[in-house]
Protein backbone atom coordinates (compact mmCIF):
# COMPACT_ATOMS: atom_id res chain seq x y z
CA UNK A 1 0.00 0.00 0.00
CA UNK A 2 1.28 3.40 -1.00
CA UNK A 3 4.80 2.09 -1.55
CA UNK A 4 7.43 4.41 -3.01
CA UNK A 5 9.80 3.44 -5.81
CA UNK A 6 12.78 4.84 -7.65
CA UNK A 7 11.97 4.72 -11.35
CA UNK A 8 15.03 6.40 -12.83
CA UNK A 9 18.53 7.54 -11.92
CA UNK A 10 21.17 9.70 -13.53
CA UNK A 11 24.43 11.55 -13.07
CA UNK A 12 26.92 13.41 -15.20
CA UNK A 13 30.54 12.39 -15.62
CA UNK A 14 32.14 13.88 -12.50
CA UNK A 15 35.00 16.26 -13.38
CA UNK A 16 37.48 18.51 -11.60
CA UNK A 17 36.30 21.64 -13.43
CA UNK A 18 32.90 21.65 -15.09
CA UNK A 19 32.97 23.96 -18.13
CA UNK A 20 29.50 25.42 -17.64
CA UNK A 21 27.16 27.07 -15.16
CA UNK A 22 25.47 25.34 -12.22
CA UNK A 23 22.09 25.16 -13.95
CA UNK A 24 23.74 23.52 -16.95
CA UNK A 25 25.52 21.09 -14.64
CA UNK A 26 22.22 20.20 -12.93
CA UNK A 27 20.61 19.65 -16.33
CA UNK A 28 23.10 16.89 -17.15
CA UNK A 29 22.23 14.64 -14.19
CA UNK A 30 18.53 15.48 -14.50
CA UNK A 31 18.40 14.73 -18.21
CA UNK A 32 20.25 11.43 -17.69
CA UNK A 33 17.64 10.36 -15.12
CA UNK A 34 14.71 11.26 -17.39
CA UNK A 35 16.22 9.14 -20.15
CA UNK A 36 16.70 6.27 -17.72
CA UNK A 37 13.11 6.54 -16.44
CA UNK A 38 11.68 7.04 -19.94
CA UNK A 39 9.66 10.07 -18.84
CA UNK A 40 9.70 13.80 -19.52
CA UNK A 41 9.88 16.85 -17.25
CA UNK A 42 6.10 17.22 -17.68
CA UNK A 43 5.60 13.96 -15.75
CA UNK A 44 7.26 15.40 -12.63
CA UNK A 45 5.09 17.09 -9.98
CA UNK A 46 7.72 18.49 -7.65
CA UNK A 47 11.47 18.66 -7.16
CA UNK A 48 13.95 18.62 -4.31
CA UNK A 49 17.33 20.29 -4.84
CA UNK A 50 20.33 19.26 -2.73
CA UNK A 51 23.67 21.06 -2.31
CA UNK A 52 26.00 22.65 0.22
CA UNK A 53 25.30 26.34 -0.38
CA UNK A 54 28.67 27.65 0.79
CA UNK A 55 30.06 26.57 -2.61
CA UNK A 56 27.24 28.21 -4.59
CA UNK A 57 27.28 31.75 -5.91
CA UNK A 58 23.68 31.34 -7.10
CA UNK A 59 21.37 31.91 -4.15
CA UNK A 60 18.28 29.73 -3.81
CA UNK A 61 19.26 27.43 -6.66
CA UNK A 62 16.08 25.32 -6.40
CA UNK A 63 13.99 28.14 -7.84
CA UNK A 64 16.47 28.78 -10.64
CA UNK A 65 16.73 25.10 -11.57
CA UNK A 66 12.94 24.58 -11.60
CA UNK A 67 12.74 26.93 -14.57
CA UNK A 68 15.86 25.66 -16.36
CA UNK A 69 14.87 22.00 -15.99
CA UNK A 70 11.31 22.65 -17.24
CA UNK A 71 9.66 22.00 -13.87
CA UNK A 72 7.66 25.25 -13.45
CA UNK A 73 5.10 25.75 -12.01
CA UNK A 74 5.67 22.67 -9.82
CA UNK A 75 6.90 23.37 -6.30
CA UNK A 76 10.55 22.91 -5.49
CA UNK A 77 12.28 22.44 -2.15
CA UNK A 78 15.89 22.93 -1.13
CA UNK A 79 17.62 20.68 1.41
CA UNK A 80 21.08 20.69 2.91
CA UNK A 81 22.85 18.27 5.23
CA UNK A 82 26.39 18.82 3.90
CA UNK A 83 27.72 15.70 2.13
CA UNK A 84 24.55 13.70 2.89
CA UNK A 85 22.22 16.24 1.24
CA UNK A 86 21.36 13.82 -1.59
CA UNK A 87 20.00 11.05 0.62
CA UNK A 88 18.26 13.62 2.81
CA UNK A 89 16.60 14.81 -0.41
CA UNK A 90 15.55 11.23 -1.14
CA UNK A 91 13.95 10.99 2.31
CA UNK A 92 12.04 14.22 1.72
CA UNK A 93 10.87 12.98 -1.71
CA UNK A 94 9.77 9.69 -0.14
CA UNK A 95 7.76 11.63 2.44
CA UNK A 96 6.15 13.83 -0.21
CA UNK A 97 5.05 10.78 -2.21
CA UNK A 98 4.15 8.57 0.76
CA UNK A 99 1.92 11.33 2.15
CA UNK A 100 0.07 11.57 -1.16
CA UNK A 101 1.03 15.23 -1.66
CA UNK A 102 2.91 14.43 -4.89
CA UNK A 103 3.15 11.45 -7.26
CA UNK A 104 6.48 11.90 -9.04
CA UNK A 105 9.37 13.84 -7.47
CA UNK A 106 12.85 14.54 -8.88
CA UNK A 107 15.74 14.72 -6.38
CA UNK A 108 18.41 16.85 -8.03
CA UNK A 109 21.82 16.94 -6.35
CA UNK A 110 24.67 19.13 -7.54
CA UNK A 111 27.89 20.85 -6.56
CA UNK A 112 30.20 22.93 -8.61
CA UNK A 113 33.08 23.11 -6.18
CA UNK A 114 35.19 24.95 -8.75
CA UNK A 115 32.60 27.76 -8.71
CA UNK A 116 34.75 29.56 -6.14
CA UNK A 117 38.52 30.08 -6.10
CA UNK A 118 40.80 27.65 -4.30
CA UNK A 119 41.58 30.39 -1.74
CA UNK A 120 37.85 30.72 -1.06
CA UNK A 121 37.58 26.95 -0.83
CA UNK A 122 40.38 26.92 1.74
CA UNK A 123 38.57 29.56 3.74
CA UNK A 124 35.31 27.57 3.70
CA UNK A 125 37.14 24.42 4.71
CA UNK A 126 38.25 26.21 7.86
CA UNK A 127 34.60 26.74 8.71
CA UNK A 128 33.64 23.11 8.15
CA UNK A 129 32.83 22.35 11.77
CA UNK A 130 32.04 24.30 14.97
CA UNK A 131 33.18 27.78 13.95
CA UNK A 132 32.92 29.18 17.46
CA UNK A 133 34.95 26.63 19.42
CA UNK A 134 36.88 24.39 17.00
CA UNK A 135 37.73 26.37 13.86
CA UNK A 136 39.90 28.94 15.73
CA UNK A 137 42.36 26.06 16.34
CA UNK A 138 42.78 25.51 12.57
CA UNK A 139 40.69 22.44 11.87
CA UNK A 140 40.17 20.73 8.51
CA UNK A 141 37.82 17.94 7.46
CA UNK A 142 40.66 15.39 6.95
CA UNK A 143 42.01 16.13 10.45
CA UNK A 144 38.71 15.23 12.09
CA UNK A 145 38.53 11.91 10.26
CA UNK A 146 42.22 11.46 11.12
CA UNK A 147 41.30 11.75 14.80
CA UNK A 148 38.82 8.90 14.31
CA UNK A 149 41.52 6.93 12.48
CA UNK A 150 43.97 7.47 15.34
CA UNK A 151 41.39 6.30 17.90
CA UNK A 152 40.50 3.26 15.76
CA UNK A 153 44.18 2.32 15.40
CA UNK A 154 44.74 2.68 19.14
CA UNK A 155 41.67 0.65 20.08
CA UNK A 156 41.94 -2.15 17.52
CA UNK A 157 45.43 -2.19 16.06
CA UNK A 158 44.20 -1.03 12.67
CA UNK A 159 47.19 0.09 10.56
CA UNK A 160 47.81 2.65 7.83
CA UNK A 161 48.30 -0.36 5.50
CA UNK A 162 44.76 -1.56 6.30
CA UNK A 163 43.45 1.86 5.29
CA UNK A 164 45.56 1.86 2.11
CA UNK A 165 43.96 -1.48 1.17
CA UNK A 166 40.61 0.29 1.00
CA UNK A 167 41.99 2.83 -1.49
CA UNK A 168 43.52 0.04 -3.57
CA UNK A 169 40.08 -1.63 -3.78
CA UNK A 170 38.41 1.68 -4.69
CA UNK A 171 40.91 2.25 -7.50
CA UNK A 172 40.41 -1.30 -8.78
CA UNK A 173 36.79 -0.43 -9.57
CA UNK A 174 37.24 3.27 -10.23
CA UNK A 175 39.16 2.29 -13.35
CA UNK A 176 35.98 0.66 -14.68
CA UNK A 177 33.69 3.63 -13.94
CA UNK A 178 33.42 5.99 -16.90
CA UNK A 179 31.65 8.58 -14.69
CA UNK A 180 34.55 8.76 -12.20
CA UNK A 181 37.16 11.52 -12.03
CA UNK A 182 40.06 9.28 -10.90
CA UNK A 183 40.51 6.20 -13.06
CA UNK A 184 44.13 5.30 -12.38
CA UNK A 185 45.38 2.21 -10.53
CA UNK A 186 46.60 2.71 -6.97
CA UNK A 187 48.89 0.13 -5.33
CA UNK A 188 49.88 -0.42 -1.71
CA UNK A 189 53.48 0.35 -2.73
CA UNK A 190 52.54 3.91 -3.70
CA UNK A 191 51.65 4.57 -0.04
CA UNK A 192 55.20 3.71 1.06
CA UNK A 193 57.07 5.43 -1.77
CA UNK A 194 58.19 8.84 -0.45
CA UNK A 195 58.51 10.05 -4.06
CA UNK A 196 54.85 9.31 -4.72
CA UNK A 197 52.30 12.05 -3.97
CA UNK A 198 49.92 9.38 -2.59
CA UNK A 199 52.23 8.81 0.41
CA UNK A 200 52.34 12.44 1.58
CA UNK A 201 50.80 13.23 4.96
CA UNK A 202 47.63 15.35 5.02
CA UNK A 203 46.66 15.01 8.69
CA UNK A 204 48.35 12.16 10.53
CA UNK A 205 47.73 9.25 10.20
CA UNK A 206 45.88 10.01 6.93
CA UNK A 207 47.85 10.39 3.70
CA UNK A 208 46.91 11.87 0.33
CA UNK A 209 45.82 8.43 -0.89
CA UNK A 210 43.40 8.11 2.04
CA UNK A 211 41.42 11.18 0.94
CA UNK A 212 38.86 11.71 -1.79
CA UNK A 213 39.07 14.92 -3.79
CA UNK A 214 36.70 17.70 -4.75
CA UNK A 215 34.75 17.41 -7.97
CA UNK A 216 31.98 19.08 -9.93
CA UNK A 217 28.97 16.90 -10.50
CA UNK A 218 25.22 16.43 -10.61
CA UNK A 219 22.90 13.52 -9.98
CA UNK A 220 19.17 12.93 -10.09
CA UNK A 221 16.83 10.31 -8.63
CA UNK A 222 13.20 10.04 -9.81
CA UNK A 223 10.85 8.86 -7.07
CA UNK A 224 7.25 7.78 -7.77
CA UNK A 225 4.12 6.43 -6.09
CA UNK A 226 3.22 2.74 -6.63
CA UNK A 227 0.43 3.73 -8.99
CA UNK A 228 2.61 5.93 -11.17
CA UNK A 229 5.36 3.33 -11.04
CA UNK A 230 2.98 0.80 -12.60
CA UNK A 231 2.45 2.98 -15.64
CA UNK A 232 6.04 4.26 -16.03
CA UNK A 233 8.40 1.51 -14.99
CA UNK A 234 8.85 -2.23 -15.40
CA UNK A 235 11.99 -2.47 -13.24
CA UNK A 236 11.18 -0.42 -10.12
CA UNK A 237 13.50 -0.34 -7.14
CA UNK A 238 11.55 0.08 -3.90
CA UNK A 239 12.58 2.26 -0.97
CA UNK A 240 12.30 -0.19 1.96
CA UNK A 241 14.27 1.39 4.78
CA UNK A 242 15.18 4.98 5.72
CA UNK A 243 17.22 5.86 8.78
CA UNK A 244 18.63 9.27 9.77
CA UNK A 245 20.36 10.75 12.78
CA UNK A 246 22.34 13.77 13.96
CA UNK A 247 25.17 14.22 16.47
CA UNK A 248 26.94 17.09 18.27
CA UNK A 249 29.14 19.00 15.81
CA UNK A 250 31.93 19.60 18.37
CA UNK A 251 33.88 16.42 19.10
CA UNK A 252 33.80 17.46 22.76
CA UNK A 253 30.10 16.56 22.76
CA UNK A 254 30.67 13.00 21.56
CA UNK A 255 31.48 9.71 23.28
CA UNK A 256 32.37 7.41 20.37
CA UNK A 257 35.58 7.83 18.33
CA UNK A 258 36.03 4.38 16.77
CA UNK A 259 32.82 4.68 14.74
CA UNK A 260 30.12 7.19 13.86
CA UNK A 261 27.13 7.17 16.20
CA UNK A 262 24.89 8.63 13.47
CA UNK A 263 25.69 5.72 11.15
CA UNK A 264 24.88 3.14 13.82
CA UNK A 265 21.62 4.87 14.70
CA UNK A 266 20.56 5.38 11.07
CA UNK A 267 21.45 1.76 10.20
CA UNK A 268 19.44 0.40 13.10
CA UNK A 269 16.39 2.43 12.01
CA UNK A 270 16.74 1.45 8.34
CA UNK A 271 17.22 -2.27 9.08
CA UNK A 272 14.16 -2.24 11.34
CA UNK A 273 11.97 -0.43 8.82
CA UNK A 274 13.05 -2.78 6.01
CA UNK A 275 12.81 -5.89 8.18
CA UNK A 276 16.31 -7.01 7.20
CA UNK A 277 19.75 -7.25 8.82
CA UNK A 278 23.35 -6.83 7.67
CA UNK A 279 23.49 -10.43 6.41
CA UNK A 280 20.61 -9.77 4.01
CA UNK A 281 22.47 -6.99 2.16
CA UNK A 282 23.78 -8.12 -1.24
CA UNK A 283 25.72 -4.96 -2.13
CA UNK A 284 26.48 -1.67 -0.36
CA UNK A 285 27.56 1.86 -1.18
CA UNK A 286 29.23 3.58 1.77
CA UNK A 287 30.47 7.13 2.29
CA UNK A 288 34.22 6.72 1.74
CA UNK A 289 35.25 10.38 1.81
CA UNK A 290 38.32 8.98 3.59
CA UNK A 291 39.52 5.37 3.82
CA UNK A 292 38.87 5.35 7.58
CA UNK A 293 35.25 6.32 6.86
CA UNK A 294 34.76 3.09 4.87
CA UNK A 295 36.54 1.07 7.57
CA UNK A 296 34.20 2.46 10.24
CA UNK A 297 31.19 1.93 7.96
CA UNK A 298 31.93 -1.83 7.76
CA UNK A 299 31.62 -1.96 11.54
CA UNK A 300 28.87 0.63 12.03
CA UNK A 301 26.63 -1.18 9.50
CA UNK A 302 27.27 -4.59 11.07
CA UNK A 303 29.18 -6.11 8.12
CA UNK A 304 32.05 -6.67 10.58
CA UNK A 305 32.30 -6.64 14.36
CA UNK A 306 34.03 -3.76 16.19
CA UNK A 307 37.69 -3.72 15.14
CA UNK A 308 37.15 -6.44 12.53
CA UNK A 309 36.82 -4.13 9.54
CA UNK A 310 40.48 -4.75 8.70
CA UNK A 311 39.81 -8.49 8.33
CA UNK A 312 36.99 -7.72 5.91
CA UNK A 313 39.17 -5.62 3.58
CA UNK A 314 42.31 -7.74 3.91
CA UNK A 315 40.24 -10.87 3.17
CA UNK A 316 38.88 -9.05 0.08
CA UNK A 317 35.34 -9.70 1.35
CA UNK A 318 34.25 -6.26 0.12
CA UNK A 319 35.48 -6.88 -3.43
CA UNK A 320 32.99 -7.76 -6.18
CA UNK A 321 33.30 -11.51 -5.57
CA UNK A 322 33.48 -11.21 -1.77
CA UNK A 323 30.71 -11.86 0.74
CA UNK A 324 29.60 -8.19 0.90
CA UNK A 325 30.70 -6.08 -2.09
CA UNK A 326 31.16 -2.43 -1.03
CA UNK A 327 31.72 0.57 -3.32
CA UNK A 328 32.36 -1.51 -6.40
CA UNK A 329 31.74 1.67 -8.44
CA UNK A 330 35.03 3.06 -7.07
CA UNK A 331 33.41 5.04 -4.26
CA UNK A 332 33.97 8.70 -3.54
CA UNK A 333 37.71 7.94 -3.50
CA UNK A 334 37.54 7.33 -7.27
CA UNK A 335 34.44 9.19 -8.40
CA UNK A 336 35.30 12.40 -6.57
CA UNK A 337 32.99 14.05 -4.04
CA UNK A 338 30.74 16.82 -5.43
CA UNK A 339 29.01 17.29 -2.07
CA UNK A 340 25.35 17.77 -3.06
CA UNK A 341 25.56 15.22 -5.91
CA UNK A 342 27.29 12.48 -3.92
CA UNK A 343 24.29 10.85 -2.22
CA UNK A 344 22.41 10.72 -5.52
CA UNK A 345 25.41 9.13 -7.23
CA UNK A 346 25.55 6.43 -4.53
CA UNK A 347 21.81 5.76 -4.94
CA UNK A 348 22.24 5.67 -8.72
CA UNK A 349 24.85 2.92 -8.46
CA UNK A 350 22.60 0.92 -6.13
CA UNK A 351 19.56 1.24 -8.41
CA UNK A 352 21.62 0.07 -11.40
CA UNK A 353 22.82 -2.92 -9.33
CA UNK A 354 19.28 -3.88 -8.29
CA UNK A 355 18.01 -3.56 -11.89
CA UNK A 356 20.85 -5.73 -13.19
CA UNK A 357 22.22 -2.79 -15.21
CA UNK A 358 25.61 -2.35 -13.52
CA UNK A 359 27.68 -3.89 -16.32
CA UNK A 360 31.21 -4.96 -15.38
CA UNK A 361 30.60 -4.27 -11.69
CA UNK A 362 27.27 -6.13 -11.51
CA UNK A 363 26.84 -8.18 -8.33
CA UNK A 364 25.02 -11.32 -9.52
CA UNK A 365 21.34 -11.48 -8.47
CA UNK A 366 21.60 -8.39 -6.23
CA UNK A 367 18.16 -8.03 -4.62
CA UNK A 368 18.73 -5.90 -1.50
CA UNK A 369 21.14 -2.96 -1.38
CA UNK A 370 22.23 -0.46 1.27
CA UNK A 371 23.43 3.14 0.86
CA UNK A 372 25.32 4.86 3.73
CA UNK A 373 25.72 8.62 3.25
CA UNK A 374 27.34 10.82 5.93
CA UNK A 375 27.25 14.61 6.29
CA UNK A 376 30.21 16.39 7.87
CA UNK A 377 32.25 14.24 10.24
CA UNK A 378 29.26 12.22 11.41
CA UNK A 379 27.19 15.34 12.01
CA UNK A 380 24.43 13.84 9.86
CA UNK A 381 23.96 10.21 8.84
CA UNK A 382 21.51 8.60 6.43
CA UNK A 383 21.17 4.88 5.70
CA UNK A 384 18.81 3.83 2.91
CA UNK A 385 17.81 0.26 2.06
CA UNK A 386 16.54 -0.45 -1.44
CA UNK A 387 15.14 -3.67 -2.93
CA UNK A 388 13.98 -4.73 -6.35
Amino acid sequence: MNDVAIIGVGQNTFVRFYPGSVRELAFEGFSDSLGHAGITAADIDASVVCSAPEYDLQRSSAGVFAEYLGLNPGPTFYVETLCSSGSTGLKLAYSLVKSGLHDVVAVVGFQKMSEISSAETQERMGRGADIQWESPFGTMMPAYYAMYARAHMDAYGTTPEDLAAIRVKAATYGQLNDRAVYRKAVTAEMFTDPENMISGSVASPLRVGDCCANADGSSCIIVASAEKTKSFCDKPVWIRGLGSASAPVNLAGRDLFTGLAVARQAASQAYKMAGVGPKDIDVAEVHDCFTIAEMMAYEDLGFAGPGEGRDLINGKETYLDGSIPVNVDGGLLSKGHPIGATGGSQIRTMVLQLRGEAGEIQVPDAAVGLVHNIGGVGLYGNVTILAR
Partner: protein, 144 residues
Protein backbone atom coordinates in the same frame (compact mmCIF):
# COMPACT_ATOMS: atom_id res chain seq x y z
CA UNK B 1 18.88 59.93 18.77
CA UNK B 2 20.53 57.85 21.45
CA UNK B 3 24.20 57.07 21.48
CA UNK B 4 25.06 54.07 19.31
CA UNK B 5 25.76 51.09 21.57
CA UNK B 6 29.15 49.56 20.98
CA UNK B 7 29.24 45.94 19.90
CA UNK B 8 30.83 43.54 22.36
CA UNK B 9 33.17 41.64 20.06
CA UNK B 10 35.61 40.25 22.60
CA UNK B 11 35.35 36.76 21.05
CA UNK B 12 37.16 38.03 17.94
CA UNK B 13 40.37 37.49 19.91
CA UNK B 14 39.90 33.72 20.27
CA UNK B 15 42.46 31.55 18.45
CA UNK B 16 44.60 32.16 15.38
CA UNK B 17 41.51 33.14 13.36
CA UNK B 18 38.15 33.66 15.03
CA UNK B 19 34.98 33.29 13.00
CA UNK B 20 32.70 34.54 15.76
CA UNK B 21 32.52 38.09 17.13
CA UNK B 22 29.76 38.13 19.64
CA UNK B 23 28.52 35.44 21.98
CA UNK B 24 26.75 35.59 25.32
CA UNK B 25 29.74 33.79 26.83
CA UNK B 26 32.19 36.57 25.85
CA UNK B 27 33.49 36.59 29.46
CA UNK B 28 35.37 33.40 28.47
CA UNK B 29 37.90 35.69 26.78
CA UNK B 30 38.38 37.83 29.91
CA UNK B 31 38.95 34.62 31.88
CA UNK B 32 41.59 33.46 29.37
CA UNK B 33 43.30 36.82 29.78
CA UNK B 34 43.32 36.21 33.54
CA UNK B 35 45.00 32.85 32.96
CA UNK B 36 41.81 30.84 33.53
CA UNK B 37 40.15 28.31 31.22
CA UNK B 38 36.48 28.23 32.14
CA UNK B 39 33.26 26.40 31.40
CA UNK B 40 29.69 27.01 32.52
CA UNK B 41 27.47 25.08 34.90
CA UNK B 42 23.66 25.21 34.87
CA UNK B 43 22.51 26.68 38.17
CA UNK B 44 19.37 24.55 38.03
CA UNK B 45 20.50 21.02 37.09
CA UNK B 46 24.23 21.38 37.80
CA UNK B 47 25.34 20.09 34.39
CA UNK B 48 28.82 21.26 33.41
CA UNK B 49 29.43 22.49 29.87
CA UNK B 50 32.66 22.78 27.95
CA UNK B 51 32.79 24.61 25.68
CA UNK B 52 30.74 27.01 27.81
CA UNK B 53 27.10 27.47 26.89
CA UNK B 54 24.82 30.40 27.70
CA UNK B 55 21.73 28.19 27.82
CA UNK B 56 20.81 24.79 29.27
CA UNK B 57 18.58 22.98 26.76
CA UNK B 58 17.46 20.42 29.36
CA UNK B 59 16.20 23.03 31.87
CA UNK B 60 15.39 25.69 29.25
CA UNK B 61 17.11 28.14 31.57
CA UNK B 62 19.94 30.59 30.94
CA UNK B 63 21.22 30.98 34.47
CA UNK B 64 24.77 29.72 34.36
CA UNK B 65 27.75 30.00 36.67
CA UNK B 66 31.36 29.89 35.51
CA UNK B 67 33.75 27.21 36.74
CA UNK B 68 37.50 26.84 36.25
CA UNK B 69 38.89 23.86 34.35
CA UNK B 70 41.26 22.33 36.86
CA UNK B 71 43.44 19.26 37.18
CA UNK B 72 44.20 16.91 34.34
CA UNK B 73 42.38 15.06 31.61
CA UNK B 74 43.26 12.12 29.37
CA UNK B 75 44.15 12.32 25.69
CA UNK B 76 41.31 10.77 23.65
CA UNK B 77 42.72 11.29 20.15
CA UNK B 78 44.79 13.70 18.05
CA UNK B 79 46.08 14.52 14.57
CA UNK B 80 48.94 16.60 13.24
CA UNK B 81 48.06 18.72 10.23
CA UNK B 82 50.42 19.10 7.27
CA UNK B 83 48.00 21.54 5.60
CA UNK B 84 45.86 24.17 7.28
CA UNK B 85 43.00 26.41 6.27
CA UNK B 86 43.50 30.02 5.21
CA UNK B 87 45.09 32.06 7.99
CA UNK B 88 46.73 29.08 9.73
CA UNK B 89 49.65 28.58 7.32
CA UNK B 90 52.11 30.15 9.76
CA UNK B 91 51.14 27.72 12.53
CA UNK B 92 51.93 24.54 10.54
CA UNK B 93 52.56 21.83 11.50
CA UNK B 94 50.30 21.72 14.57
CA UNK B 95 48.42 19.04 16.45
CA UNK B 96 44.73 19.21 17.35
CA UNK B 97 43.48 16.99 20.14
CA UNK B 98 40.57 16.00 22.35
CA UNK B 99 41.04 15.65 26.10
CA UNK B 100 38.57 13.94 28.44
CA UNK B 101 38.10 15.47 31.90
CA UNK B 102 35.36 13.01 32.85
CA UNK B 103 32.53 15.49 33.38
CA UNK B 104 33.27 17.14 30.03
CA UNK B 105 35.73 16.99 27.14
CA UNK B 106 37.89 19.77 25.69
CA UNK B 107 38.79 20.17 22.02
CA UNK B 108 41.95 22.17 21.40
CA UNK B 109 45.58 22.11 20.40
CA UNK B 110 48.66 20.41 21.83
CA UNK B 111 51.22 22.98 23.06
CA UNK B 112 53.89 23.83 20.49
CA UNK B 113 57.11 22.06 21.31
CA UNK B 114 55.53 18.72 22.21
CA UNK B 115 56.48 16.25 19.45
CA UNK B 116 53.78 14.03 18.01
CA UNK B 117 55.97 11.04 18.86
CA UNK B 118 55.64 11.95 22.56
CA UNK B 119 51.86 11.61 22.47
CA UNK B 120 50.13 8.46 23.67
CA UNK B 121 46.37 8.04 23.81
CA UNK B 122 45.34 7.95 27.47
CA UNK B 123 48.23 10.13 28.70
CA UNK B 124 47.38 12.87 31.20
CA UNK B 125 47.39 16.46 30.00
CA UNK B 126 46.49 19.80 31.50
CA UNK B 127 44.87 22.78 29.82
CA UNK B 128 46.55 26.20 30.03
CA UNK B 129 45.87 29.59 28.53
CA UNK B 130 48.13 30.51 25.63
CA UNK B 131 48.63 34.15 24.58
CA UNK B 132 49.17 34.58 20.82
CA UNK B 133 50.49 37.47 18.73
CA UNK B 134 48.54 40.73 18.41
CA UNK B 135 46.60 40.32 21.66
CA UNK B 136 44.93 37.11 20.54
CA UNK B 137 44.59 34.16 22.92
CA UNK B 138 43.58 30.49 23.10
CA UNK B 139 44.33 27.49 25.30
CA UNK B 140 46.59 24.49 24.71
CA UNK B 141 47.31 21.13 26.29
CA UNK B 142 50.54 20.53 28.20
CA UNK B 143 52.01 17.36 29.64
CA UNK B 144 50.84 17.05 33.24
Amino acid sequence: MGKKKEKDERFRKFGTVSFTGTTRVNDFIDHLEQGRVTGTRCESCGKAFFPPRADCCACRLSKMEWFDVQGTGRLVTYSTLAFGPKGFEGDLPYTIALVDYGEYKIFGRIAAGIAESDLVIGMTLETKTNPLADGRINYVFHKA
